[in-house]
């Protein structure tokens, strides 16, 4: 006997009334949602082979258990297909992981969004965009999976602006902030294999509490050091003290230039780590650290992150254009760190 769907039901006459109800109850992100009927929710659960009462995650700070039924309802509302449900469930597991530290990034005035990086065969199969217009509208998977996670945060975990979400600016990525790694063209080890030691045939999603992407340009250099030198110079100054992670997204032209010099992702991380330090004097002059500048502050340096491994290198973005970007993480290493979770697909 399988468990039944137990959520409260509301009778409506038609689509317009359903939508009106969702708006009045505060269940949407501002955009219209797909009415979550029982049939659609059951199909969503079946997409991941989950029972309605299966607990996907528990948010300790909020004392909220997130079960599959509520995730499925919100995934339907976001416009997901049943095939997306395993990705949404894995991302929810990720943001509930103590290392991600839900309460901080979800609540803080610092306004993080949940950056999601999808890896493995599922990315291509479900047409997650990893190429041109990486963060643009137009791809159902990128658009709806990120939206589903945000609706779960809103409707299940209570992350409501003005209440338990106190963001100063918020973040456009809170509608959705999803990319896949371009594994088909990347010369490098995929992110999930690096982080989990899993197989390339596994699929995974990495969640990172993230600020906005910052693009940089280098059309001049034909070497790895040249391209990454520009990146480091751009990264260093917006850098704050103690960001937990940076995600560096290398698009087609830069990817090919760096690969032509035979640099691995580990080489890239090491170079970035070593070339993004700032002096204590700089931090003090720009009021990021307290106190007067002392002579020794000119030579004392701080790295951008604690370890090269805190830099996530991802091959993604358009084939054309001498641009890549970096995405700073939110807050500090003790507050939140990126988490990678295997996607449990339903066995056929």
């Amino acid at each position: 006997m399988t468990a039944r769907i137990t959520s409260q039901r509301y009778a409506v006459d038609d689509f317009t009334q359903a939508l009106d109800l969702c708006y009045r109850r505060g269940w949407t992100d501002g955009l219209p949602v797909v009415p979550p009927t029982e049939a659609a929710v059951q199909a969503m659960l079946d997409g991941a082979g989950l029972e309605p009462d299966t607990q996907i995650a528990f948010i300790t700070n909020r004392q909220v258990a997130i079960n599959a039924e509520k995730v499925a309802i919100n995934a339907v509302m976001a416009g997901c297909l049943p095939e997306h449900m395993p990705v949404v469930a894995a991302a929810i597991e990720g943001i509930a992981d103590p290392r991600w530290g839900y309460h901080g990034p979800a609540t803080s005035t610092g306004s993080a969004a949940v950056l999601m990086i999808v890896n493995g065969p599922i990315a291509q199969r479900l047409d997650f965009n990893s190429g041109d217009n990486l963060f643009s509208p137009g791809w159902r998977s990128n658009a709806t999976v990120g939206r589903a996670v945000r609706l779960v945060m809103r409707n299940v975990i209570g992350t409501l602006p003005g209440r338990l979400d106190r963001g100063t600016f918020g973040h456009p990525g809170r509608y959705t902030y999803v990319m896949a790694e371009n594994e088909a063209e990347s010369p490098w080890t995929p992110l999930h294999v690096e982080r989990l030691g899993c197989r390339t045939s596994d699929s995974a999603v990495t969640v990172m509490a993230a600020l906005a992407p910052i693009q940089f340009y280098n059309q001049l250099s034909s070497t790895a050091a040249g391209v990454l030198g520009t990146l480091c110079d751009t990264m260093r100054y917006p850098g704050q003290i103690g960001q937990p992670n940076y995600c560096v997204v290398l698009a087609g032209e830069h990817m090919r230039t760096i690969a032509a010099d035979n640099w691995s992702k580990a080489d890239i991380r090491k170079f970035i780590f070593e070339n993004t330090t700032n002096s204590v004097a700089h931090f003090k002059r720009t009021a990021r650290m307290p106190g007067a500048v002392k002579p020794e502050d000119e030579t004392a340096t701080r790295p951008l992150v604690q370890s090269p491994d805190d830099i996530l290198v991802v091959a993604a973005g358009g084939r054309a254009g001498s641009f890549s970007c970096f995405i700073p993480g939110w807050a500090s290493r003790t507050s939140s760190e990126a988490v990678t979770v295997l996607i449990k697909e339903r066995s056929a």
Binding site: I5, T37, V64, I73, G101, H103, N155
Partner: protein, 95 residues
């Protein structure tokens, strides 16, 4: 078109009883714990509050603990030590 039903996407938070320990009538002769949340200047703010509690309210001593970060509750070690060694606790934010 026939009507249909939609499902509620929200949950009711788990309700749990929360009882406060009795407040001390006076801080005279009491030991005060200060739980600092790692935010910039939160230690200074709490130290100042601790000084006021000693000079103006007769508390005998203060002791400070530091949480792992601002987004998590005080960890078990703090709770255990505070329960053993102080009579009242002040927790604060430094934003």
């Amino acid at each position: 078109m026939a009507g249909f039903e939609i499902l509620d996407p929200t949950v009711e938070p788990r309700r749990q009883p929360l009882t406060y320990v009795p407040r001390p009538d006076s801080l005279k002769g009491k030991r005060i714990g200060l739980v600092e949340n790692t935010k910039f200047n939160s230690d200074k703010l709490l130290r100042k509050i601790g000084d006021i509690l000693k000079t103006e309210y007769g508390a005998t001593e203060t002791r400070m603990w530091r949480k792992h970060n601002a987004g998590v509750p005080a960890h078990q070690e703090i709770l255990d030590e505070a329960a053993r060694s102080v009579d009242a606790v002040v927790a604060g934010i430094g934003d």
